[in-house]
């Protein structure tokens, strides 16, 4: 077959190909049909926008007290939409700045656990055999460790540095990711379509890029969506104990802690940060559930 006729053949073939919907386009359509997931997506988008833009628009600063208003309830007159705390700082701005930190910790720590988990799991799954056995035994052993205790220890020992929070929380969360990725890789590499690709002469790299990674992605996306709220929760838990983010920075956990102490006199200082925290966790969890339903073809009924 000479060059021109081959091109013509390819062209003819091309026009007849119906553009197939990829797994992800398909999943996206299914996700959009899930009203709870769409609502969650909307809430999260709104939350991110509010947290980033809100503090810029407000006339108040998260550090500087308003000397005329200590522990005042929410009111339009004073301009403190969520009221002020015991030191006279505007709670609207503090809640949003706290949200920046909480969301940032959620994203970065999840990223850390993702990187460790995927590389560990993929290596174990792909090489299999003795390497896999050894690596997974190690994971099992680490699994039996009281991780919350180690995070607390780390925070107490090495000061309450925000970067340490990222690393410490990321370091506790990678085990699940590693297990999931390893299991997926292990089952994928023996699938018939990988065999078929190999028979067609695809290189190892092409197989990984075209067949393994895209099929891993679904599980990873779902897992990430469900890990972020967990991480946010761990960070707020640490901050609640006074071990997390330190003044003048704040996070939702730290704000809830302050609010809980002034519960009787200033309940609004608990309600707003707690509400934002719960709404965010709620939305992430719902989105994760929706994504799992959308991406897992097994449950397609």
């Amino acid at each position: 077959m000479n060059e021109t006729s081959r091109d013509a053949f390819d062209q003819a073939l091309d026009t007849r190909i119906i553009r197939g919907r990829s797994l992800y386009v398909d999943a996206w359509h299914r996700l959009l049909k899930n009203r709870a997931a769409v609502a969650a997506l909307f809430v999260l988008g709104l939350m991110v926008a509010l947290v980033i833009i809100g503090p810029m628009l407000s006339q108040w600063d998260h550090e500087i007290p308003d000397w005329d208003n200590y522990s005042t309830p929410p009111s339009l007159e004073t301009g403190h939409l969520f009221g002020t705390d015991a030191l006279g700082r505007d709670l609207f701005v503090r809640t949003l700045v706290g949200g920046q930190i909480s969301l940032l910790v959620g994203l970065v720590a999840t990223l850390v656990s993702l990187i460790i988990g995927i590389s560990y799991g993929a290596v174990a799954g792909y090489f299999g055999g003795r390497v896999d056995n050894l690596m997974m035994r190690a994971v099992d052993a680490i699994y039996a460790m009281p991780f919350m205790f180690f995070v607390i220890l780390l925070m107490v020992i090495f000061g309450r540095n925000i970067f340490l929070i990222f690393v410490a929380i990321g370091a506790i969360n990678w085990l699940d990711m590693a297990r999931i990725v390893r299991g997926q890789t292990l089952s994928l590499k023996n699938k018939d379509f990988v065999e078929a690709a190999r028979a067609c002469g695809a290189t190892e790299m092409q197989i990984i890029r075209r067949h393994i990674v895209p099929n891993l992605l679904g599980v990873v996306i779902v897992y990430v969506t469900l890990t972020i709220p967990q991480v946010i929760l761990v960070e707020s838990f640490l901050s609640f104990l006074g071990l997390g983010v330190q003044e003048p920075l704040t996070s939702w956990g730290a704000l809830v802690n302050e609010g809980a102490q002034e519960l009787e006199t200033a309940p609004w200082s608990l309600f707003f940060p707690a509400g934002f925290l719960a709404a965010t966790l709620f939305a992430f969890n719902f989105l994760g559930d929706g994504l799992r339903d959308a991406l897992d073809p097994k449950d397609r009924l």
Binding site: I152, P229, F237, L241, A274, A278, D289
Partner: protein, 312 residues
Amino acid sequence: MLNYSLKRLASAIPTLLLLITFAFFLIRIAPGGPFDAERALPPEIEANLAAKYHLDEPLVFQYARYLWQIARLDFGPSFHYLDWTVNDLIAQGAPVSFTLGAIALVLALLIGIPIGAWAALRQNRPADYAAMSVAMIGISIPNFVVAPLLILLFAITLGWLPAGGWEFTPSRMVLPVITLALPMIAYIARITRASMIEVLHSSFIRTARAKGMPEKTVLLDHALKPALLPVISYLGPAAAAILTGSVVVERIFTIPGIGSYFVQGALNRDYTLVMGVVILYGILIILFNFLVDLLYAWLDPRIRYDDPEVAS
């Protein structure tokens, strides 16, 4: 079964040793020591204290000494609570944490499983959506938010229950137990629902129904048992965590359990107390994971740990 149990017990020792080693050196490299005070102690006294607690020896010697000590089940003296040994402190705090944790655990099982099973039978109907949305709320609202809200409602506004403090009376236990149980109820309900749905779609349920078995027998005798497997595996680590006391709950309700020892111990550099709590927790995790595996074999007769044909 005995053979398997012994094997598991043997494999627990290196895990525990790893845990002890890691925790021991982690807390020792922390800056500051147990006897740091606002006013610096005279060097002679400091030297005496260090000598008494063997802190002047090389770390490896201290480590060996500590291992020998805990091999005899002696966790040593507390560095902060003078005249108290860690064994005493744990003996005092453990009954409180265990009681609260055990009640919450039983409560969570008794409420969570029926809700999950009930929702599974109404899959994708309004009742199912309602139950699962409530469960999602239970998971999304952290316990350090739930606890202050409960106090605000039941202690401050209604005045029915005390806001904190501790004695072995029901009125003091209600709020902490609810706080501990709520997220567990939510988790258990979700897990039960998911696995129940899967089991109800399986062929042995179809066979049971085809045989004309009463629906009640199908559900209770055939479906529920395998559906409980994922609940059991969730329960292992959860039980270990809840029995060692929740740091948050004990702090909010000012309860003298072992959960509160840990953070305080770490802040005070109370080396022996921190180690004691970590080891207790590690033992409980290993123990409960073992129990989970035994329960698995009991719930699912296909799992046989000693059968050489299956094992190989």
